[in-house]
């Protein structure tokens, strides 16, 4: 058996597909990859230096950086896949925002079950993220940026703080940086254990020192975010990409990826029943089976049963559905699920889908912020019913009731999309693997129980729910 290991240790180089040149993970696992010295030796901070030197002569303007990011087609890596450059342009121009400062928040609250890519980027190559933040801060005229890191990543926060101290010492941060007239501070803000703080407006509330309750949008953060100032929230991986776009140009970035709407390198977190779980960097849009092969295939050579393609919030896909699936935002969305944070959880034929769905529902019941009634009440209700079902006490109407409750929780009934996320695994699990749930029901010891043929279990509700969910 593997012996226990303390985690922040240099990790071996991940496997890359043939012909793919690693971008974000290139320095991961190399000696002293966290130190500023090795980062500089590897050509780090070149874009930041370029900009600092080029401001005076007018070679570099914030608009130029934004345009490059826009042209690259970079989409947010946190889950929604919103075009990053476009998000930046939503910040009101100086004449409209008056004296209000603009804030950049790095979303490092990586809490989606199955996601562990940002942790790797921050713990192994913190300067890559810092440079990305510096460039984004220049583009957005930000003087103070924050990294909201989840509370559990104690070492990640320490590593980032050490890296920030190095950057100040080298004159890459602070007042009037290298005589350029720019001022930039970066502060690490540790969360304290709340999944919802990964939602951008909840993150803002949490940074303000409140409970992490998502805000009603609009106004969107770009107009009125933290301390009522224009705010841009970007994921760790997104900001790391910005650094490389500035280094090598948007045209280069666009050459990577399946099509012009899904560009750039992407980190995939593969876990569950595979031979070699881990973070894999490939071009955006790699077909699922190639990705699976990179991770050594299904554990023990067993058969693939189901895949969760984008973290616990994504609808479960069957083995058949993922067969030819391109793993990018549009590809997975076309299969009525989502790429999300690219947390791919593989389940082989031994996996028990009702158990897995019950487990996921437990997560959501625990993490609901409690602000909106459908979510606060619905998530524990789903969990209770599923627990009852897998413990052999299911009632005849349970499957339909699960779908019915789910239907009442989603589709914009709540302030944020947490509720939609909570029902996606339930609806997809029950509709696609109904026979497995019914097998539990047929064993049920519930006194009222007598199961009719499965077709008669009001299939209409199931269909309607499945459609309504994705319309």
């Amino acid at each position: 058996m593997n012996s226990p290991r303390w985690y922040p240790e240099p990790k071996p180089n991940p496997t890359w597909p043939k012909g793919f040149e690693p971008v974000l993970t290139k320095r991961l696992g190399t000696k002293d990859s966290r130190s500023i010295e090795t980062y500089l030796a590897d050509g780090g901070y070149s874009s930041w230096k370029k900009i600092l030197a080029g401001i005076a002569g007018g070679d570099w303007t914030p608009a130029k950086v934004t345009d490059m990011v826009k042209a690259s087609g970079l989409r947010g890596r946190g889950g929604a896949g919103f075009p990053c450059g476009l998000k930046w342009t939503f910040v009101p121009p100086p004449e409209k925002r008056g004296t209000k400062p603009v804030y950049l928040l790095c979303n490092a609250d990586e809490s989606e079950p199955g996601t562990f890519k940002d942790r790797l980027l921050m713990e192994q190559d913190p300067h890559q993220l810092l440079e990305g933040m510096m460039l984004a801060s220049f583009a957005l005229s930000v003087a103070h940026a924050y990294i909201y890191i989840r509370g559990e990543m104690v070492h990640g926060a320490e590593i980032l703080n050490a890296a920030i101290a190095e950057a100040y010492a080298k004159g890459f941060l602070g007042q009037n940086i290298q005589g350029s007239g720019l001022t930039l501070d970066i502060t690490v803000h540790r969360g304290a254990g709340a999944y919802i703080c990964g939602e951008e407006t909840a993150l803002i509330e949490s940074l303000e020192g409140k409970r992490g309750h998502p805000r009603i949008k609009p106004p969107f953060p770009a107009v009125s975010g933290v301390w009522n100032c224009p705010t841009v929230v970007n994921n760790v991986e997104t900001l790391c990409c910005v650094k490389h776009i500035l280094d090598r140009g948007p045209e280069w970035f666009k050459t990577i990826g399946r099509n012009e709407k899904n560009t750039g390198p992407k980190l995939y977190c593969i876990s569950g029943h595979v031979e070699k779980p881990g973070v894999y960097e490939t071009a955006m849009g790699i077909p699922f089976l190639e990705l699976l092969a990179l991770a050594g295939g299904v554990k023990g050579g067993r058969k693939l049963k189901a895949v969760i393609p984008g973290g616990a919030s994504a609808a479960i896909l069957t083995a058949k559905e993922v067969e030819n699936l391109p793993m990018d935002f549009d590809g997975v969305a076309a299969a009525k699920s989502m790429l999300g944070s690219a947390a791919i959880m593989v389940m082989d034929e031994t996996a028990d889908i009702p158990e897995a769905v019950t487990n996921i529902s437990k997560f959501f019941a625990h993490e609901s912020c409690g602000q909106c009634t459908p979510c606060r009440e619905g998530t524990p209700w789903l969990n209770k019913m599923l627990k009852r079902l897998v413990s052999g006490q299911g009632k005849r109407q349970d499957l339909d009731l699960l779908l019915q409750i789910s239907n009442q929780m989603g589709n914009g009934m709540t302030i944020c999309v947490f509720s939609d996320a909570a029902i996606a695994p339930v609806i997809s699990g029950v509709t696609k693997f109904r026979a497995e749930f019914e097998a539990y029901l047929s064993q049920s010891a519930s006194p009222s129980f007598a199961l009719p043929a499965s077709d008669e279990l009001t299939p209409r509700i199931a269909e309607r729910t499945a459609e309504g969910m994705h319309s």
Binding site: E152, G209, C269
Partner: protein, 185 residues
């Protein structure tokens, strides 16, 4: 739900009495040590409002006292010019602020989906059994370990994942559990 340090424990025998706001009271006022106070002042310089420093200052409080008592809430509230009720509201929202004393080592088992697929619940149950049939969130008789269940620790590639105090451990099974626990004094 993860229980442990955050389970309402006011009714449990042997624990301090419950104060206003439902927080446990230790019965004497608290104040930051000079070192903690210095940390707080450094934190305050990084934010435009005092309130924004609440989460980091609560971390300082937990570092100093091990958990967040009613008196800790009162002191933090006073330092940041907030009401105690507001601070307590924030404390109760986040799972990582301990609202009751915990053992010397806080053992946190991830049981979210990837760890679940790797059998984490079984290891969690076995760990509690070996430490003296602890209920979720209970502290061992020698005060050494408190064992709780938490959600995803972002170590899904090395499931089942466990976090003990501030450190991460990976691939924890019934076989290497004794070795892991034995390494804590």
């Amino acid at each position: 739900m993860s229980g442990g340090a955050n389970t309402p424990v006011g009714e449990l025998p042997g624990l301090p009495r419950v104060g206003e706001h439902g927080a446990l009271s230790i019965g004497k006022p608290l104040a930051f040590s000079p070192e903690s106070r210095k940390k707080v002042d450094a934190i305050l310089r990084r934010y435009p409002t005092k309130q924004a420093a609440l989460l980091p200052v609560l971390w300082v409080a937990q570092e100093e006292w091990g958990w967040i008592s009613r008196e800790a809430v009162d002191h933090v509230a006073q330092v940041l010019s907030l009401s105690s009720a507001f601070v307590w509201g924030v404390v109760t929202f986040y799972t990582m602020y301990n609202r009751a004393p915990v053992g010397k080592h806080l053992v946190q088992f991830c049981t979210s989906i990837s760890c679940h697929l790797a059998g984490a619940e079984g290891v969690y149950a076995e760990c509690r059994k070996r430490l003296g049939n602890l209920k979720p969130g209970e502290t061992s008789a020698d005060g050494k370990f408190t064992v709780i269940e938490v959600e995803c620790l972002a170590q899904c590639d090395r499931a089942p994942a466990v976090m003990i105090n501030d450190d991460d451990y990976a691939v924890i099974t019934n076989e290497n559990l004794d070795e892991l626990l034995g390494s804590f004094k």
